[in-house]
């Protein structure tokens, strides 16, 4: 059968769905009905739970998150370079190494900032 790669992946996913979904339905039908306040409470190591879990959490490690946004894009662009590596003349490939070396300076500064714990 001449199916392309993506439809094969889709068929594979459908097979997995057909096997796992009935299990969930089975568990849903067999579950215990009725209320039991102790059983249904969120687990907090035996303590009575206090409040919701959906509160505001402190956003720590902020410099890392900013660097992640920048370097994620850069990693993608480096992949396009890596794919074309052999077809590009070697002298131009060395230019990319210069590009990476330039990247290291802001990375080092960001790491210096994020190493200071008072900024967290």
């Amino acid at each position: 059968m001449g199916l392309d790669a993506w439809s094969l992946v889709a068929i594979f996913e459908i097979v997995i769905f057909l096997v796992t979904f009935p299990l969930l339905v089975f568990g849903w039908l067999m579950r215990a009905r009725g209320r039991n306040p102790i059983r249904d409470a969120p687990f907090e190591s035996g303590q009575t739970h206090l409040g919701e879990a959906r509160q505001r959490y402190m956003m720590q490690y902020y410099p890392y998150l900013i660097m992640f946004i920048v370097f994620d894009v850069i990693a993608m662009f480096l992949f396009t370079w890596g794919l074309a590596f052999s077809s590009v003349p070697m002298a131009r490939n060395y230019l990319f190494l210069v590009f990476i070396a330039v990247l290291v300076a802001p990375l080092a500064y960001a790491m210096y900032l994020s190493g200071k714990r008072e900024f967290w």
């Binding site: 059968m1 992946v9 769905f17 687990f43 907090e44 919701e52 480096l78 490939n93 990476i100």
Partner: protein, 343 residues
């Protein structure tokens, strides 16, 4: 009346028979596909319990089957009949949906991994990017489970999973860039074909070290098992799961381990290449199990790191090593060694 419908029925039966016996169907359902991954994941559960037991001078599972090899299946059947507790504050439908999603996400990368020459479900040109893209969706689903179960332990586990992704994602991409440069392709089958003379673990030893470390973080394995740290967060994001959703989440993690080990085998350890006395798929599965047992030994021997240490290691050590690997690869190519791995 029904006699007239008979030929149509026969045609449908014929078509069904043709589909079931077709190579594509057999590949998807049996060997490189569903049953292989499922049974191997169950085997890995047993293997992990045996290896950890060996490290801790215990015996491990013993009674179900030959030295307990059927124990994971017995556990699965047991979990199916366990009470499914859905906490009153939790979003039950979201939890079940996410358990299903985890399972489907865990299996999806297996479609692109070759288990032999031409023995792959979907031979796609962007296989490597596809595998990484699917794997990078995991932390989001885990955060959804933490959010949906509305328990503090679960939610903290989900948040840690996201932070872990910030630490490992970029070193993971950059550590395989050397292979892409050497082969000039993202097709996993072609990457294996390029390694017939020499495995990539030799020229890319830095990349291999970085990728293996990153794989441990990706799999939430012991030095980096922050999202489900048992001593801090009960069971992390799995705290509020029980019964069938727990089974699916647990199995998804082991499926991910199997797929990730197979990916390491494919990228660095030569995939199906090996001496001819064993068939190719056996080599892939054997190497995969060896990589997985190294992961288990690491689990038995290493302590857990803190979140900030993980982030710091990812950004100051692993990322720099991955960049160094790119420089080494460029040096290899510029002295003309790149032709060894040309297809």
């Amino acid at each position: 009346m029904w006699l007239q419908a008979l030929p149509a029925l026969q045609e449908i039966l014929n078509l069904a028979l043709r589909i079931i016996t077709s190579r594509t169907f057999l590949e998807i359902v049996f060997f490189p596909g569903f049953l292989n991954v499922m049974l191997s994941a169950a085997f890995l559960v047993w293997l992990e319990r045996k290896v950890i037991a060996r490290i801790q001078l215990r015996i491990g599972p013993l009674y179900a089957g030959l030295s307990g090899i059927l124990q994971p299946i017995a556990d699965g059947v047991k979990l199916m009949f366990k009470e499914m507790i859905l906490p009153e504050l939790a979003d039950a439908k979201l939890l079940m949906l996410c358990a299903l999603g985890l399972m489907m996400l865990a299996f999806a990368p297996a479609a692109a991994i070759p288990f032999g020459e031409g023995l792959v479900i979907a031979n796609m040109d962007v296989g490597l990017v596809y595998v990484f893209a699917v794997m990078s969706l995991f932390p989001s689903v885990i955060l959804l489970i933490g959010w949906g179960s509305n328990s503090k332990y679960s939610f903290l586990g989900g948040l840690r999973s996201l932070f872990q992704q910030v630490a490992y994602e970029i070193p993971m991409w950059l550590s395989v860039l050397g292979i892409v440069m050497l082969t000039g392709t993202l097709n996993l089958t072609k990457i294996v074909e390029a390694q017939q003379r020499l495995w990539f673990v030799v020229p890319q030893v830095l990349g291999f070290a970085v990728f293996f470390t990153v794989a441990l973080a990706e799999l939430e394995r012991t030095p980096f098992d922050l999202p489900e740290a048992e001593t801090e967060l009960v069971m992390g994001w799995m705290t509020e799961l029980s019964g069938v959703p727990f089974m699916l989440g647990f199995l998804a993690m082991y499926t991910k381990l199997y797929v990730m080990s197979a990916l390491i085998t494919t990228l660095f350890l030569g995939g199906w290449s090996g001496p001819g006395f064993l068939p190719q798929p056996v080599w892939v599965v054997l190497k995969t199990f060896i990589v997985a047992s190294v992961v288990f030994v690491i689990r038995g021997t290493f302590p857990r790191v803190r979140v900030d240490i993980l982030l710091r290691t990812g950004w100051t050590r692993l990322l720099v090593l991955a960049f160094a690997n790119i420089f080494v690869t460029v040096a290899l190519m510029s002295i003309g060694l790149g032709s060894v791995w040309r297809i």
